[in-house]
Amino acid sequence: MEKVEKQIVEQLISGDISRDESRRLLKMDPKDPERFWTYLEVLQDRVKWKDKILLRISDHLYIVKKEKTGERLVKCECGHELGDYRVNWKTAANVRIRATQEEMSKVYFPATAVPEPKWNEIREFFCPNCFTQIGVEVVPPGYPLLFEFLPDLDRFYSEFLGRPLDDAQDDWYENQTNKKTAAWL
């Protein structure tokens, strides 16, 4: 079975991959089962910190294992940690709201394509350290934050990858967002 080279995976991540090469990957059948491990290897090489990456959840966000504390945290590529992965990382981010026509017109073009204020607000989420834009929501005011993805990491590793994590525990797959926000009030 064909294994996709590390170099190609690097090109996918950096965006340098050629159209022909990306087409070749799209047409692969079956897809290379090793890909996740190559992916992790490339990603680990790219980041400046040492924590072990368990899963890449966004362009710049990773779930990592902290060896010292045993925690599993969301970590930005810049090194900033956004807390336990069971809590929606948006709660640890900064947010800028675009609520007026003028503000929304800076991100939608032309004027006829700009969402209507009052029906929507645009929520831009930033890493509080590097201010990379790590998420965008366009929702009515009053709408709860969307928790884009809570992984069942232990099931992923054991059932889907065949290499169980060694720190499995019962409450790893549990949405703990509301616990955190309760403490704000």
Binding site: L25, V95, R96, F147, P151
Partner: protein, 741 residues
């Protein structure tokens, strides 16, 4: 999976029950008990002679493909003939599809719903199914059709009194006979305004429609001739399939046919199951979308419908213990007195579209994958009204978001898994123009122009921009969105423009392809011409709540109508607007003079059009991917030099400063770009607050005071009328127990 039907014993003791009812019940019992389709654990036929098995399958597949490629030329409607907004298929006796042609393949998810309805309602006894009978239906409630514009034909293939298979076809017809002309009655209040809606009806026998059937199309729709030809088209394809299947049965035998068909479907199920295991990541994915329904002031006679509604499409996706995807839609709006409701069959079609794109392409495309897609559709919700009266003329206005959310679940998982080549911001902002007219000679007609049901931009990939004008989420065909035949057929409509709308896309590190704009010039409209907009997302709200990885979700679609213009004067001066944006600019400058110009960021209702009126649409953009400040300045430069972006806009969006270099080109001001990007990043810092701060303020000022538009309040009331969403909403905002939403 369709629920098991109650069994009526049909045979004398000792005789094998070959009724469809019994087959459905056996299938369900065995599938449920074993987790394998029809309990098939061993591929006895496939493994014992794989060449014969593949030869068998390729015969079935070829029959379906040939049916489409030949019969579509029976049609006169461009939708049927040129674009093939249609599909032909072969289903098992129980309705599961075994083989499909090209086209909108996912509409096959509805087949079992129609079969089940007929069986549960006594059709097997009265009138009974004979070989080459013809059944037709377009009803979501009884047939699983997503909406009445999609018309299905079913031809039973019978041997010795036993239904072995169904030859099936579906296409989106030209005109459906609703009070609002076209094929998506956007202002229907209930199903009695959906148009010519009929449950599975026997309309013919021996591959020939009864004489009265043609009369129904002529009497109840505005495009009788075109709809009749579409009907003949579907039947022609089914006839070809029926004949091929009888030949195949003669060659392979009935028992082989039935057993091999089951193995084919089980094979697909296993491949898709493996795909889920190999490409997906388990966990909980949360997404939402919103769709406005602005009826206030438009439905005066129908007071109960005369309101503005915000439809909530809410999905939590996960993978269950059996390795199947589960989509929980609880929290989505309740059904209402508007055109945008749906039924479970149509919903299943929406899910299958996503499956087709991301999980079903490396196998025989049968309904096997559908057995791995389960859902929670609480009764009373917009996907399961629990009443037959709900209008569903345009379920797709909001139900396409089900497809997008499902598909985005898959592409997000592929991204996390490293199969980034597959990851893109899935989008589907479709649009259409429809209506009716009377030609100069008094001939009335109705029409739908599907030219914006395809040629969409594809959303941005995780590693490159999306392409323009290549994509339509419902179909793999590259000629979806072709418009030449529509222009030829629809007398008064002429394109002054059909091109990319500069700057109209979803932005991010990578942008979607540019969206499209069309300008229709109304010329020689005859005695009467009206048009209305039919479409998915409106300009008021993007189609998805979540932008991908820091990019922005796709903008919605807008219509602009200019009436009473000085177009003839402009033509003499060599001026001709070619996009919606140009039309508006010319009007703003006073060059295009109008008696009335209206921009609709919601659904434009039926509008009377006269000579030199202009109908403009701006649609079909896509979503962006990633942080816009990371976009390669060379990519911005390329767009600028192609006149595809607004210079001032991209400076603010991407922090790329361009300066003129020569007459019509730019170059990057490197230093200024570095400074600008620094400044924009600093602005992010100064203009943002920790979410904890925002949360407290937002809760105080908006949530506790219910300080929102009335339709938003109603939407929340609707959503929280369902227990789990009520819980979710209340606990997220930590609302007091006695707080009334």
């Amino acid at each position: 999976m369709v629920a098991a039907t109650k069994e009526i014993p049909r045979n004398k003791p000792g005789e094998i029950d070959k009724s469809i009812a019994h087959k459905i019940s056996q299938r369900d019992e065995l599938t449920e008990k074993t987790g394998h389709y029809w309990g098939i654990k061993e591929f006895t036929l496939k493994d014992s002679d794989p060449m014969k098995f593949e030869r068998f399958y390729s015969r079935l597949q070829s029959a379906c493909m040939a049916a489409r490629e030949i019969s579509r030329f029976v049609a006169a409607s461009p939708g049927g003939r040129e674009m093939g907004e249609a599909v032909w298929g072969l289903a098992s006796a129980e309705g599961d599809s075994i083989a499909l042609s090209e086209g909108f393949v996912s509409h096959s998810a509805a087949f079992p719903f129609a079969i089940n309805f007929m069986v549960e309602n006594g059709y097997e006894e009265n009138p009974g199914f004979n070989d080459a009978d013809v059944y037709v239906s377009d009803d979501g409630f009884t047939c699983g059709a997503p909406h009445p514009g999609d018309t299905y034909t079913y031809v039973p293939i019978v041997r010795d009194g036993e239904v072995i298979s169904w030859a099936c076809a579906v296409n989106h017809i030209m005109e459906v006979g609703a009070p609002q002309a076209g094929s998506w009655a956007m202002f229907a209040v209930d199903t009695f305004m959906d148009g010519f809606v009929f449950p599975p009806t026997r309309t013919g026998e021996n591959l020939k429609q009864y004489a009265w059937w043609d009369e129904m199309w002529k009497r109840r729709t505005r495009a009788g001739v075109v709809n009749i030809l579409d009907d003949k088209m579907r039947l022609a394809g089914c006839a070809m399939i029926l004949k091929s299947v009888h030949d195949i049965i003669d060659e392979f035998g009935v028992e082989y046919y039935i057993q091999a068909s089951k193995e084919v479907i089980e094979e697909t199920r296993r491949v898709v199951k493996d795909n889920i295991n190999n490409w997906m990541v388990p966990g909980t994915y949360e997404q939402s979308s919103f769709r406005v329904c602005l009826y206030k002031g438009m439905q005066k006679i129908w007071e109960h419908a005369d309101k503005d509604t915000l439809i909530h499409i809410y999905m939590k996706s996960s993978i269950d213990d059996e390795g199947r995807f589960h989509f929980d839609m609880e929290g989505s709006s309740k059904w209402g007195y508007h055109a945008f409701n749906a039924f479970p069959g149509g919903y299943k079609v929406a899910v299958m579209m996503a499956l087709a794109g991301a999980l079903g392409y490396n196998t025989k495309f049968t309904s096997g994958g559908n057995y791995l897609m389960t859902s929670n559709l609480p009764e009373g919700c917009i996907y399961n009204p629990g009443t037959h009266i709900a209008a569903h003329s345009n379920s797709w206005a909001q139900m396409l978001m089900v497809t997008l959310q499902t598909f985005n679940t898959f592409t997000r998982a592929q991204f996390m898994r490293g199969y980034m080549e597959e990851s893109f911001a899935v989008c589907g902002p479709w649009d259409a123009m429809q209506g009716e007219g009377i030609l100069e000679d008094g001939t009335p007609y109705g029409y739908t122009n599907f030219e914006l049901l395809g040629a969409c931009a594809q959303g941005a990939y995780a590693y490159r921009d999306g392409d323009p004008a290549v994509w339509f989420v419902a179909s793999q065909l590259c000629n979806m969105g072709n418009s030449e035949e529509f222009e030829q057929l629809l007398a008064p409509l002429f394109h002054l423009g059909r091109k990319l709308e500069p700057g109209y896309c979803g932005y991010g590190k990578y942008r979607s392809g540019m969206g499209l704009s069309t300008v229709q010039w109304i010329n020689e409209p005859g005695q009467r011409l009206v048009a209305s907009r039919a479409g998915g997302t409106c300009g008021i709200i993007p189609e998805l709540s979540i932008g991908m990885m820091g990019g922005y979700p796709s903008p919605g679609a807008t219509t602009a109508i200019a009436q009473g213009t000085n177009l003839q004067d402009l033509f003499r001066q060599g001026i001709s607007p070619s996009t919606l944006q140009e039309t508006i600019e010319l009007s703003d400058k006073g060059i295009l003079k109008t008696k009335k110009i209206k921009v609709w960021k919601s659904d434009a209702p039926e509008t009377n059009l006269k000579q030199d009126d202009l109908w403009c649409q701006q649609a079909e953009a896509g979503g962006g991917w990633g942080d816009p400040l990371e976009r390669d300045p060379l990519a911005v430069l390329e767009d600028a030099n192609a006149n595809m972006v607004n210079i001032a806009f991209v400076e603010e969006m991407h922090g790329v400063v361009l300066k003129a270099s020569g007459e019509e080109t730019y170059k990057i001001d490197e230093e200024a770009t570095v400074e600008k990007r620094k400044a924009l990043r600093a602005q992010r810092k100064s203009e943002s607050v920790p979410v904890s701060e925002w949360y407290k303020k937002h809760r105080e000022e908006r949530v506790l005071k219910m300080n929102m538009l009335e339709p938003v309040v109603e939407m929340l009331r609707d959503a929280t009328s369902f227990e789990s969403y009520n819980n979710h909403y209340r606990t997220f905002w930590h609302l007091p127990d006695d707080f009334e939403i």
